[in-house]
């Protein structure tokens, strides 16, 4: 029998449990980050932990609401949902409120909403809808370009809001495309370009850059030696060399076009510059806070570094550093493992789908969460430049929590339906 009634038994309780656990643990840490021994009341709704409590309550209601919707709705109306969210991005550009240089907020009464957060799930839906059509395969140029457009339109609009972090998230959809047939070389190429960009930045003088190109030429020559030595291959490798040389010399120019604070963040990471009062300070303090946690941590509410407000953005982007300081290696390792486990679980569940749409959407969910996890914790641990995006389910903030909830629960809802599809 096929009907659309939700069967609670069919829900993936593993994902739901991890979701609830993360939100709860996140809240505990926000409470600690904001905690002020001079003034603490559990239900102070003017403070961040009080507000986050409200956001969590609302998130759970949203999750229940999604579970009650007919799962086919999301597939059928994927483009419509996508379109509406794109419009919200245009509106926020026109009428939004500017906060700290990014025009990315809608102020509705006392509630501030960041539309960019919600566009991620809409893009995942649209992409899944497109790629799940029967004749679509991501191994021809046309499909790749259309999929690329679906991904890049929201990214471009978000970039216009001056919110580089949120725009970068869309890079993560590469995993979805890869799973649907995009050549794996994309990762190799991506790696080569990032690696060359870093080298080009580190090698400041022209002479050094020329040496780099010399080495590059040598590598390609060796490659040629092992390939079939004919004109065609020689020309291909020569073209690669020309492109890479051009890239090496244009990195500095592109870098100079970045905003000043972004330049500093990258230089700090590459140890080219010390900026101990700005971005460098945050990262350094964050490392001290985590480092001082030791094996077992200082204990809940006992962190000294975080209490001194040494780490800015403690409850939003740097929430992981409270975990590190107060819960030590055990706590931080647990969070990392929990995230990896959730990601693997999402892929497992995606792979068991019979509906291609649900499977692709699941990959979208995993990709977005993976990207946030990598960038956020990488930043807090001083491994990548400071890019301000939240840690899913942990960081303070209504918009991001709700958006991740919607993202995940649409997938959970699709999955609950898998038995009914024949």
């Amino acid at each position: 029998m096929r009907n659309n009634r939700l069967v609670w038994r069919d829900l993936d309780w593993v994902m739901i449990s991890i979701y609830l656990l993360m939100m709860f643990f996140g809240w505990l840490n926000i409470y600690s980050a904001v905690y002020n021994p001079d003034n603490h009341a559990l239900f102070n709704f003017s403070l961040r932990y009080g507000k986050q409590m409200i956001w969590i309550g609302a998130a759970i209601i949203i999750a229940l609401g999604i579970l009650l919707i007919d799962p086919k709705f999301f597939n059928q109306f994927a483009y419509l949902i996508y379109g509406i969210h794109l419009l919200s991005l245009v509106f926020v550009l026109l009428f939004g409120k500017e906060v700290a240089g990014s025009k990315s907020w809608f102020q509705i009464g006392s509630l501030a909403i960041q539309p960019a957060e919600f566009v991620k799930y809409a893009t995942a839906l649209a992409l899944a809808h497109y790629l799940s059509q029967l004749d679509v395969k991501v191994n021809n140029i046309k499909t790749t370009i259309i999929a690329g457009i679906i991904i890049l339109i929201p990214a471009a609009l978000i970039l216009l809001q001056n919110d580089t972090g949120s725009a970068l998230v869309y890079v993560s959809f590469i995993f979805v495309l890869y799973r649907r047939g995009l050549s794996g070389n994309i990762f190799v190429i991506g790696f080569v370009f990032v690696f060359l960009a870093i080298l080009a930045l580190l090698l400041q003088s022209i002479a050094q850059k020329l040496i780099l190109l010399g080495i590059l030429f040598l590598i390609l020559s060796v490659l040629y030696y092992f390939m079939r030595r004919n004109i065609s291959n020689a020309l291909k490798l020569l073209a690669v060399f020309v492109v890479l040389s051009g890239f090496v010399f244009s990195v500095d120019y592109a870098f100079s076009k970045l905003q000043a604070h972004q330049q500093v963040r990258i230089k700090v990471l590459l140890n080219m510059e010390q900026d101990l009062h700005g971005a460098g300070y945050n990262v350094y303090q964050s490392k001290i806070a985590i480092g001082s946690g030791g094996f077992k941590g200082k204990g809940y509410l006992q962190g000294t570094q975080t209490k001194f407000k040494f780490v800015p953005e403690q409850s939003t982007d740097f929430i992981f550093c409270t975990v590190g300081e107060e819960w030590g290696f055990l706590g931080s390792a647990a969070v990392i493992i929990l995230f990896v486990f959730l990601l693997i679980r999402i892929i497992q569940v995606a792979e068991r789908q019979r509906s291609t749409f649900a499977q692709i959407y699941g990959y979208g969910v995993a990709s977005i969460l993976f990207f946030h996890f990598t960038i956020n914790i990488g930043m807090v641990l001083g491994l990548i430049p400071v890019i301000g995006i939240p840690l899913p389910f942990f960081s303070y903030g209504g918009s991001s929590l709700w958006a991740f909830t919607i993202l995940l629960f649409i997938f959970i809802r699709q999955d609950a339906e898998r038995m009914k599809l024949l």
Binding site: P37, D38, F175, Y178, R179, R180, G181, G184, L276, H277, Y281, K287, I288, A289, I290, G291, S292, G293, G294, F295, T304, Q305, K307, F308, F310, G324, G328, F329, S332, A333, I336, I337, F339, V340, L343, I344, I347, E351, R354, T356, Y363, A366, F370, F373, T374, I377, G378, L381, L383
Partner: protein, 610 residues
Amino acid sequence: MRKDKYANRKYIVYGFFVFVGIIFLIRIFYLQLYSDEYAFAAENNTLRNVVIYPPRGLVYDRKGKLIVYNEAVFDLMIIPGQAKSIDKIAMSNLLQIDTTEYNKRFAKARKYSSRKASIFEKQLSKKKTAFLQEKLFKFPGFFVQARTLRKYPYANAAHLLGFVGEVNQRDLKKDKFYVAGDYIGKSGIEKFYEKSLRGQKGVQKLMVDVYNREKGAFHNGKFDVEAVNGKSLHTGLDIQLQAYGEKLMQNKIGAIVAIEPSTGEIIAMVSSPSYDPNLLVGRVRSKNYTRLLRNPLKPLISRAVISSYPPGSTFKLAQALIAEQEGVLFPSTHYVCHDGFTYKGLHVGCHHHKPSIDLEESIEISCNAYFCNVYRSIIDNPKFSSAEMGFRQWRKYIMNMGFGRKFGIDLPYEGKGNIPTPEYYDKYYHRGHWNAITTISLAIGQGEILETPLQLANQAAFIANEGFYYTPHIVAMVGDSGLRNAKFAEKHYVGIDKKYFRPVINGMERVVENGTAKLAQIDSVIVCGKTGTAQNPHGKNHSVFIAFAPRENPQIAIAVFVENSGYGGTWAAPIASLMIERHLKGHIPQKRKWLEKRMLEGNLIPKNEK
């Protein structure tokens, strides 16, 4: 489902997840378990952020004399969270307070924050500071912080300079720069230039052990932020002329504003009664402030820029210029005056003089009838369809001259004066039922019209410049860059052609030469001036005088207001001329000492206000 030839790619994706997870685990292992660099940084030691207060910017006068500087004082600070197990009695004895007071102060600091420093005792003397500092190791949580207080070597220009006081709740909310106990400019240029004067606070991060002993800089001062000194202000003020002006105005209520026409710089600006700015510094501030606030003569009010008075006959100069520009008045225009202006039962009085006079004569003898006619000719100009149109045109000129609006002087408060609008008369008389005659008192600067002394002085300045002025301002240069403040470098044209100024200036010269202000004559300097009398319904009229000198290449334009002093010629004109002479020659010659004496000794404060 179709066979999926890419199904194995999921393992690559798992690989990415696990790879990043392992990198992160290695990283936290390194940070938390392997390297002790980071753990050590936070171990046991508490950090104390010692705020380095930069010295507030200095203020100089136009001759480079220092008129505001700083003096170091020390505050005893407390961090309540660290001040546990303190010998309260010993501390109370050191500070010469009782333990109840100690507990009160402690509770107050605790209420503000247990982790942030608050002031426990303000402005310790140097001796006490030295004494305390030796004992402080016994009192964890207490430390001494240096700050500066303002000092005014000349006890003048209080209204202009303004004063500095502790931030209030509103300041704290508005600007995150401040913390409780910080100082902020509260009035005058101290307030207006607050952001330049305050500089940038520095922070020194010190490691402190549990015994309140400083263990040196945190990470060799790598994280310290150096304080940036406040910027100096170079004013156009001549502090000695200012002091002289204040002396001339002692025991009088009123204002003097002197402007350098070629720059718009204010050379002197007196509001009387005044007070010694040193009264509003430090521990005595609040007591003195209350006392000044309660004084019925209101010494805290900056009359020169805020108070407004009817300009009286000085306003006739503006009328003449507008009429000339509109083509309804010529130097040769004659009007007849028989002890005043009479029209259909309305009468504006005038003193007795020869009946038929021209423009220059009319200014010299300040004939009311002449200017009633001039005003009528502007408003009732046949080129306008109605009196309202004429009035609007007139008002446009007046506003252009800087009346009825703020200049944007570099002071936090500025009065607008008042120039009535057509709408105002519509409300009073109904639309179309008013005309030049109904508003005739405007012709001679009486009635609804009000001007600030600053606007009056500016009138003298734009006449001296024959058609333009620079926004009047106190500070010529912020910082020591040598660059003048560009905001004040712009010429504002008043909309009157240069050629129309000649007869008006001729008239002004005659006012001093043999007209209503002979007491304003100065040897070998041509002074051009105009007296005025502002009607005061509450008592004796206020006297007004505006002037500039010398006639060629004017150095100073001035307005003097003396309340309750009768005619402009008797008090305001001599005071203005003494200021001019002092500015141009640097001294008052023997010949005029008698006049100076009379002005200094004059007491014009109404009996009932003493």
